[in-house]
């Protein structure tokens, strides 16, 4: 039996690689020299175009991945952890040898739109071209003009830490045939311009799907994805369901709550933390009010979700939850309130909070362990913070208090276990 399943896996790998190789044979292209580009050097220096590109680079949060900790902006070097290995983001500054200094707009468009490097090499989808393919050519040109206006930084790109078989081009080719649909965003004429703008931002440059849609075992996103949320592989945070209608993760949120969260990092419904805190600080707080409202309009149209299936706990967790209630009264209620409602503008509510109720419990566990500041934004330059409890609470105590808050008040999520806390205690914090 074991032998058979091994054989089947091996056969599947061979088949995937063979298909990939066949697809690969049709590819390959040469870079377009800058002299032959349809876009003139003068056009790229148009200040209005560069300024629009700067805004769009904020919307796409490009700097977040393409800047190493403490490094020069856009010079690359940050390594993105994935289940398939670490992938370093490359240098986007216009340095001729190590950055995009020799690239033409045509080369850039092919990377953004088709996920192919300048030499025709297929790019790892850690670079979210699965979303960026929807970016319009005009916006891509503005982005390119902005990147070309940056001071060049000489910083060679590191090699990807990706092992066999994911390091084979044929594997990527096969992956693309399963999960990648190149194509610019097409507005839906039945919807309002505002809705279409929101959809364009969310599905394209905002690349919200890349985290807020659950990935499968091969790291792919389902084709009909509606931001139902999912655990971010390797990073171990849960990106919640963004549905605002019945049973959605943001059910009960108003448009204003959402705009507040994206612009200030906090809202009457919850605060951003973990990877989303960085998204708010670096990206969404800089977005125009109209764009934030467009995003809210789009998210409000996401379909209602089916009611959650009634959970029958396998174990009796009442003792754990009771112990958690005592810990909550001692350690948490002073800020989050006995009623879990928090303090408006200061401490987020835990009652009805999508990050408390999410299916896995990982967010609440890690926030209890790590604590930390609310995102620092123009509207909140001196944020309040939560103490880290990693040094003060045992795995069992964290499991207890998290299980309690997931079931207190109007929350109805499952209890978490001590072994989950033990595992997440050691997740590297990037």
């Amino acid at each position: 039996m074991k032998l058979l399943s091994r054989f089947l896996v091996a056969a599947a790998v061979v088949a995937v690689l063979a298909v990939g190789w066949l697809l690969l044979r049709e590819r390959g292209h040469a870079p377009v020299p800058r002299a032959d580009s349809a876009v003139s050097a003068a056009r790229l220096q148009d200040p209005a175009l560069v300024a629009r590109g700067a805004y769009l680079a904020r919307v796409g949060d490009c700097a977040s991945c393409h800047t190493a900790q403490g490094g020069a902006p856009y010079a690359g070097g940050r390594r993105l952890p994935t289940p398939f290995g670490d992938i370093p983001a490359p240098n986007l500054t216009p340095d001729r040898e190590t950055g995009l200094g020799a690239w033409s707009f045509e080369d850039f468009w092919r990377a953004l739109h088709q996920g192919e490097g300048r030499d025709g090499r297929l790019l790892y989808p850690a670079f979210p071209y699965t979303s960026y393919t929807k970016v319009s050519r005009d916006d891509a040109l503005a982005l390119f003009a902005y990147l070309q206006s940056l001071p060049p930084v000489r910083q060679p790109n590191a090699a990807a830490g990706v092992g066999f078989p994911y390091n084979l081009r044929a594997s990527l080719s096969a992956w693309r045939s399963l999960y990648f649909n190149p194509g610019e965003f097409r507005p839906d004429p039945a919807q309002s311009p505002e809705w279409n703008r929101g959809a364009y931002l969310v599905e394209g440059l905002g690349h919200c799907n890349e985290c807020h849609v659950a990935r499968d075992a091969l790291g792919g996103l389902p084709k009909q994805a509606t931001l139902t949320g999912g655990q971010i592989p390797a990073q171990n945070w849960y990106a919640p369901d963004l549905g605002m209608q019945a049973n959605g993760g943001l059910q009960g949120w108003s448009e204003q709550d959402l705009v507040d969260l994206l612009r200030t990092g906090r809202s009457a419904r919850g605060s951003a933390f973990g990877p989303m805190a960085e998204v708010v600080t670096q990206s969404t707080q800089h977005m125009d009010e109209a764009d934030l409202r467009a995003i809210a309009t789009y998210l409000r149209s996401l379909p209602p979700r089916p009611p959650p299936a009634a959970q029958k706990p396998l174990l009796d967790t009442s003792a754990l939850v009771d112990a958690g209630g005592k810990l909550y009264a001692d350690r948490c209620a002073a800020c989050h309130g006995k009623d879990g409602k928090g303090v408006a503008g200061v401490y987020p509510p835990l009652d009805g909070n999508s990050s408390v109720d999410e299916p896995t419990g990982v967010n609440a566990i890690r926030v209890v362990l790590l604590g930390g500041f609310a995102p620092l934004t123009k509207d909140n330059p001196r944020p309040y913070s939560m103490p880290p409890f990693a040094q003060q609470l045992s795995d069992r105590e964290v499991a207890a208090v998290v299980s309690y808050i997931r079931q207190a008040w109007s929350n109805h999520a499952g209890a978490v276990q001590e072994r989950d806390v033990a595992a997440y205690r050691h997740t590297p914090v990037d």
Binding site: A68, Q69, G70, A277, E278, T281, A333, A334, C335, G337, K338, D339, K341, V343, V346, Y347, L370, G371, G372, F373, P375, L376, P381, R382, P383, Y384, S385, M386, P387, P388, F389, A390, Q391, Q392, P428, V429
Partner: protein, 247 residues
């Protein structure tokens, strides 16, 4: 302040009057906690480990004391954690999104705290090891290009404003682990990183000796950092500004 006993009945009576006067006063909402608008309240993420006044954990030295350290030094450490020059994941996570202005405000808060110093355990070392520690601290070792600690950290070893921390009053474990982390590159700062150079010229025995001598020293009556300009550092140090770095 306790009221004199003879006033107590009057106080009780007036309290009763107040209660009677507002029989229909709305009950404060039970669960809405009152949150002080203070920096101290805002930085609960810091004080959970370092103490409300930055007293740290003197017995173990694991969470360093922050109280009374020069503000420029403290702000620099936050920046170094943010930039990944100092490596400690919980600190890097906590400070990652903070602005320079906010980090400076937090540094100023802890720099202004006055907390008495506590003795912490020191391993027993042979007299010659302690003598070696004293020699390195007060004279250095010119043959190995090791300046005396006092040359930068001040004649009293209480630090120099605004960027140089004191070395007395620190636990043995803290001093030895910091010198070790410069060698393992889990602690670094802007170039030229003079402390990294010095730590790499020290042997393991030197580190033990220096840390033990410093930690067992009687504390001077005035533990404040000496005024700016009290020392003329013999090495170029990035943390002491561009002028020093360019030397």
């Amino acid at each position: 302040m306790k009221p004199p006993d003879r006033l107590r009945p009057a106080l009780h009576a007036s309290a009763l009057l107040v209660l009677l006067a507002f029989p229909f006063a709305p009950r404060a909402q039970e669960a809405a906690p009152v949150v002080p608008d203070t920096l101290r309240q805002r930085i609960a993420a810091c004080t959970a480990c370092h103490g409300v006044h930055g007293e740290g954990t003197p017995q173990s030295g694991f969470f360093p004391r922050l109280a009374g350290k020069p503000a420029g030094y403290l702000a620099r450490q936050l920046q170094d954690f943010q930039n990944g020059l100092r490596k400690y994941a919980p600190m890097e996570y906590t400070v990652r999104g903070l602005s320079p202005a906010y980090m400076r405000e937090i540094a100023d808060y802890f720099a202004a705290q006055q907390v008495p110093y506590e003795r912490s355990p020191v391993p027993r070392l042979p007299a010659d090891a302690l003598a070696r520690g004293e020699r390195l601290v007060t004279q250095g070792d010119p043959d190995r290009k090791l300046p005396a600690c006092q040359a930068c950290h001040g004649s009293q070893l209480t630090g120099v404003q605004p960027d140089i921390p004191g070395l007395v009053g620190l636990p043995y474990d803290y001093i030895s682990s910091q010198l070790g982390s410069w060698r393992t590159r889990t602690r670094a700062t802007v170039a030229p990183d003079c402390m990294a150079e010095i730590a790499n010229r020290l042997s393991a025995e030197d580190i033990t000796a220096v840390a033990a001598w410093l930690a067992s020293r009687e504390l001077p009556a005035d533990m404040h950092a000496q005024p700016a300009g009290s020392v003329n550092p013999p090495l170029a140090c990035g943390v002491l500004g561009a002028k020093e770095a360019a030397r």
